[in-house]
């Protein structure tokens, strides 16, 4: 087996090695940083990114993309924290999730039924959601903002002081996504639609149902991510999750999911999300100024994407 073929077969392994390399660099640069505590925190910070990137993975596999995930996540977080006091925790959480599902369904209707390009549709709904959120926040100005205890525990608490509670949410969801994509009919259909939509249609697949379900799932995952995030930061603001939009797409792409659809999986996305989180924490450790951080971030995404394209072409 040639080296290229080996890398192609085991691209996930290569990314995992790169991740290990980053952790190695951190131990060399700042010895004593990598402790069980640091690992727990890194995993915790990776959860919202991993969840949003999960939604993007589903859509990229089916040949779509979602630019509204950040607005949805911020919206779910804000709805939750501003309604927790009057409605109670459970209802407020459900309200946040429902908002995510609603935007996801709207995206799905536009893309699957009206055949709108996903980029434009989700750009539009993202603007709508963000604007509606600003208007809503001014309507309820002065109302008590409250992050319920349960949500704060989920977003920042650790079981036995070591394992973040958020992992108990992420791991089952991740397993569900990985197995669902590999084993379920719906999962296979996502790959099929992304690979060749016309062929799917001709073989009797109701493509619109597959796409609608995928967009709804993506909206829901983004809302869950927003809820975990507000638990971590303990305060919702209108642009809480905005910084996650591009990293979420980037995590899926450097995890080996093709932007053209039909190729990739959630396993790679998880490694991609961890990679970006560790990279971020390395750059923070090095006291890299924000602009430099941003440039390195872009450079790494570009380099990894280029490497993948070379390998898979």
């Amino acid at each position: 087996m040639t080296l290229a073929a080996f890398l192609r077969e085991r691209s996930l392994l290569v990314l995992a090695l790169l991740l290990a390399l980053l952790v190695g660099i951190i131990t060399v640069v700042r010895p004593g940083t990598v402790t069980p505590d640091w690992i727990a925190n890194t995993l915790l910070f990776a959860v919202p990114l991993g969840l949003m990137a999960g939604g993007e993975t589903l859509l990229l596999l089916a040949g779509g993309i979602d630019l509204s995930v950040a607005s949805v996540a911020s919206g779910a977080a804000y709805l939750l924290s501003s309604n927790a006091a009057p409605l109670g925790t459970t209802l407020a959480v459900l309200l946040g999730l429902a908002a995510g599902l609603l935007v996801g369904l709207l995206n799905g209707v536009g893309v699957a039924i009206f055949r709108v390009q996903p980029l434009v549709m989700t750009l539009g709904t993202g603007l709508m959601a963000q604007g509606a959120l600003v208007v809503y926040s001014q309507k309820i100005i002065g109302q008590e903002q409250l992050v319920p205890r349960a949500v704060a525990t989920l977003g920042s608490g650790k079981f036995a002081g070591l394992v973040p509670y958020a992992l108990f949410l992420w791991l089952p969801l991740a397993l569900l996504l990985i197995l669902g994509l590999r084993r379920s009919g719906f999962g296979r259909l996502l790959y099929a639609v992304g690979d060749n939509e016309a062929a799917c249609r001709l073989s009797g697949v109701r493509v619109w149902r597959v796409l609608l379900a995928a967009y709804a799932a993506c909206g829901l995952l983004a809302a869950v991510a927003g809820i975990v995030l507000v638990g971590t930061t303990n305060a919702a603001d209108l642009s809480l999750a905005n910084v996650y939009l591009l990293p979420a797409i980037a995590a899926a792409i450097i995890g080996g999911t093709s932007i053209f659809g039909g190729r990739g999986g959630y396993g790679g996305t998880i490694v991609g999300a961890l990679f970006l989180t560790v990279l971020d924490s390395l750059l923070t450790l090095l006291n890299a100024p924000e602009p430099v951080k941003q440039m390195l971030y872009g450079g790494v995404i570009l380099a990894l994407a280029a490497a993948y394209t070379r390998l898979t072409d």
């Binding site: 709108v116 549709m121 709904t125 603007l127 440039m295 995404i301 570009l302 394209t309």
Partner: protein, 320 residues
């Protein structure tokens, strides 16, 4: 198919967009009778950076690509202008502006070269490039500041003929015509549309696909740089983050302006009118005493409705 029908479909944007702008303007005057020359001037000035961002995006989208780094490139041009022109004279500032436009072409060339060499999809390359150019803008100017000579700002902010014609409108028409008309009527324009509508067919007909894609980004870079200069004229200063807004809203103007995101279909005029409409909406809302934050909701809804309407039309046409 009848000839008028085909003409209408081909030039739908040319007919519908001016009517829409007129409608919006009429509505604005109806809502706010005091709407006068000064308001027209601020409308033209406000729409200038957006229209140029849309122009940059249009060139790339017509070629079948998409540029998510337009806003960051505008920010770079904006901060470079504000930093270098602060103590410059008018003549000097014009020279600097020319250099910045050249720089814009070079930056677009970098985007295009990386894109063609790496064979990574446009979305990913320009997404990453957006991070990088944004970082560079922050390195050049950390906080909003700097400035430019009044005479230079006046190129966009001033008026002609006793305040009747806003400079910003003249500037937009001159710049877009000077850059786009030669491109459109040359071989490059033809190949641009060709690779946008069917890349394989264009390749087989002997079009240099990669070179055309590269050149589309170069022209886009020029428009982005002029957009950054326009941002300086609008705000009077440089701000490293001001540009980011224009990536997505420029794309919105392109879509509302009737350019197909799959490439090869549409023109430059539609997005220009769309930029005026998208600028008028928040103004109207302020006149109507409606929370201007609804502007974003309406912008989003407008994008969604326009594209859904387009999708519906295609569906109906396909049905026997």
């Amino acid at each position: 198919m009848t000839r008028p029908g085909r003409l209408l479909r081909r030039h739908a944007a040319l007919l519908v967009m001016p009517m829409l702008v007129a409608l919006f303007l009429a509505a604005t005057v109806a809502i706010h009778p005091a709407f006068g020359a000064f308001d027209v001037q601020s409308l033209a000035l406000g729409a200038l950076p957006l229209a140029l961002a849309a122009a940059a995006q249009t060139v790339v989208v017509l070629s079948g690509g998409i540029d998510l780094s337009v806003g960051s490139l505008m920010a770079v041009a904006n901060v470079v202008a504000a930093r270098t022109m602060q103590h410059a004279g008018f003549g000097q500032s014009l020279g600097l502006a020319a250099l910045i436009v050249l720089g814009g072409a070079a930056s677009g060339a970098v985007n295009g070269a990386v894109l063609v060499a790496s064979r990574v999809p446009d979305v990913v390359v320009t997404l990453a490039a957006g991070f990088i150019w944004g970082g560079i803008a922050l390195l050049i100017l950390e906080q909003p500041g700097g400035g430019a000579p009044d005479a230079f700002l006046n190129l966009g902010a001033g008026t002609l003929f006793d305040g009747l014609v806003p400079n910003a409108l003249v500037l937009l028409i001159v710049v877009v015509a000077a850059i786009w008309l030669p491109v459109r009527s040359s071989r490059l324009g033809l190949t641009l549309y060709a690779i946008g509508s069917d890349r394989t067919a264009a390749f087989r007909s002997g079009v240099a696909v990669e070179r055309t894609r590269f050149l589309a980004y170069v022209v886009g870079g020029v428009f982005s740089a002029v957009g950054g200069l326009a941002l300086t004229m609008t705000t009077g200063i440089g701000s490293p983050l001001a540009g980011t807004y224009y990536t997505l809203s420029g794309l919105a103007a392109v879509v509302v302006g009737g350019v197909s995101l799959t490439g090869g279909r549409g023109g430059m005029t539609g997005p220009m009118f769309a930029a005026y409409i998208l600028t008028l909406i928040p103004t109207d809302l302020i006149f109507l005493n409606i929370d201007p934050n609804f502007g974003q909701v309406i912008q989003g809804t407008l994008i969604v409705l326009v594209v859904m309407g387009g999708g519906l039309a295609t569906l109906l046409r396909q049905r026997p």
